[in-house]
Symmetry: none
Subunit: 230 residues, 4 copies
């Protein structure tokens, strides 16, 4: 997407990716992360990164094209971890654990700084927005395992929209964190998880079923099938 077509000038730093280039890259990413955590996105400057990483400002512009690229690159790095969703053996427990993780991650101001900065960055930079989308798509993708396991266990109807479920769990927390700016706590996380779990059981996340107009009865019925082998 952001790749250059063949024939065009190849971005510097591409052709000789060994040795100094590689070290530079890591140093820069660290500096960006540190800066983001310390000052947030709006307080992050190219000059800071240059100083902190020991890489000259001019080089940063040549290779990353400015702050946007720097941040997008750092976000890519952030996505490369080995995090895995919880597995408590129960949908309720998994969702609750998921929600609590969000809660805790953003509860500690120090830990929240960098992620928050990324979200803020997406408001100002298309490239950061793209990177953020990629990051969360991948992250929520991992989470879907939780739902799939629940389906396998018969806790959730077949056809449940896993992506929607895992998003719905953390959504109220994100809403309060970044939109309404209200405090969040564990109780809230639990409430959200429970609500989503209930909705899942009611089949509200199963598109095929007329979920939109599902009545309580329908919901109850809807939950049955998976289990009701027969």
């Amino acid at each position: 997407m952001s790749e250059n077509a063949e024939g065009a000038a190849p971005p510097p730093g591409t052709r000789r990716p060994g040795g100094r280039t590689a070290r530079t890259r890591a140093a820069v990413r660290d500096a960006v992360l540190t800066g983001l955590a310390e000052h947030g996105y709006p307080g992050l400057t190219v000059e800071y990164v240059a100083e902190r990483s020991g890489v000259h400002k001019t080089t940063l512009y040549r290779r990353w094209g400015g702050l946007e690229g720097l941040v997008a690159d750092a976000l890519d790095l952030a996505g490369e971890d080995t995090w895995a969703p919880p597995d408590t053996g129960l949908l309720d427990g998994d969702l609750r654990a998921l929600a609590r993780e969000v809660c805790e991650a953003f509860g500690d101001p120090a830990a929240a700084a960098a992620p928050t900065a990324f979200i803020a960055a997406a408001f100002q930079s298309e490239r950061a927005a793209d990177a953020l989308r990629a990051f969360y798509t991948e992250r929520f993708g991992r989470c879907e395992a939780v739902v799939e396991r629940a389906v396998a266990r018969g806790e959730a109807p077949v056809g449940t929209d896993a992506g929607a479920v895992v998003r719905a769990v953390s959504a109220p927390l994100f809403l309060r964190l970044f939109v309404t700016r209200e405090p969040v706590d564990t109780a809230l996380a639990d409430q959200s998880a429970a609500a989503v779990a209930a909705a899942v059981r009611a089949g509200a996340f199963t598109p095929s079923t007329g979920a939109g107009t599902a009545t309580a009865t329908d919901a109850r019925t809807a939950t049955a099938p998976p289990r009701t082998p027969r």
Copy 2:
């Protein structure tokens, strides 16, 4: 000597809010809104507001203390409208209408610009964050009527956490709009509304009941009303 009794710094434009002062104020608010819509928060400059409003930069700093104050003030203004939540006569319908409204408001780029800018602003300014919190608290407060009416109609259990419900409905949309940066559409809005409605009926938003650990069975029990028929 020229200190005011309360000891706090007297914000200029407060003590003689008549005549020119008032006109100035309105012009400035309009300019902020326009600027926000045109360039977003990060692209909004005090100088732009000064030029656009015809009020001198110095005056803006004197009276609003900078961009933060300008934006916070504009947000206050934005909250002063007569919007009322939908009333379709059914919880499902109301929630769906609510969700769709969010969807539409942020679907049109032109209309979304200003609100988005406010949310972005909150990332960079404590004052904007406060103003945003106030705005949404009040706005969601109005929405709670929807839940209260549902309770009155017997569609929702007594004791339902109205605030949590209305937030849960729009949360997945906001999540995708501002965090995961995924597209939203009416189907999504409907799905969210349906899920929340289901959860409400399942009693997942009724704190008194041990909603947090509610099992499917508990949930069914808690949802008494629906069961009533027989």
Copy 3:
């Protein structure tokens, strides 16, 4: 020149110069003097004078028309003292005393601040320049007594240009103080006084004599009177 023709608005503070007006005036002059001494002319602001004197800024503009007028007024005040030139009984002694007085007045930084500020002010304000000219004309006028007494005593030729003499004595000191910015000391003062005294005796300050083209011989002749023994 800057006077108002009859019929025009009479300058405020003119028609009712009693009571508060008078007190105000004194307070303002003091404040100007203090400010001048503390910050020099370029550091003197109308706002400082307003605060310091307790007279409102608007009033200062109304009555003095701004900094220029304020300073000019203060300078007028400074000229109203009872200083008198020294009288040692000898031209040499008087001139030396005069020179030393300049030296001492500007040697102490604290004492020199205000006078220096006035001289600086004259560079920026026509009114201050006028006031300064008036001040020094009057001041040097008093000094001329020194020369007149010398003439009366027969120490100086009749027709000696008293004004030129008293100016010549202090001129080298002022030159070093304000133009070449070199240090001055008593020895310098003495040298200047001695040189001028010698020139006076040589008749170089007696216009009628062709002083301008005086040769060494002429000078000797001119100096004759006092000595003329023979």
Copy 4:
């Protein structure tokens, strides 16, 4: 890391004084001189220099540190000319020529503007004062040749304080120009020159002799030798 070895702040534009840097420098100096002549020091703004020279304001601050440095630099430039004192073959003539030159230089308002501005600048800026001192020290240093030649010719006593003499000649003119703000003319210049010449011949500028208390007799004696020949 980016510190320079000497420890002192490395003034920008110092280490790479080639190409653009040099051109910039000249343009700026011209602009300062022009501005000084047009508006005087108090009317000279950095922004004016920026506009006039085509060099950006920020750069001016970076390289010259503000108005002070700008003016000091321009003054340095002003000192780099090839002016030489007059040589009429007579002390009287040389001194008179010197005095008249001052008179003429400051008589024409257009020509006087820049020098006057420099003197005014010294009142507000230590750096300008230093530069002014350096300028005049050097300039009067050149003038001393006049006295030295006179000594060589036997017109002035050996040991005459050349610096004091040349300063004394122009001092009354500067006094009237910048302190008492009185008009100056050629007659005054001649008077001053004649007086100083007389004092020189009287030995009043010869420190070794008890110049301070020199009597007319002493003076005559002191002046004698040169003439003795016959």
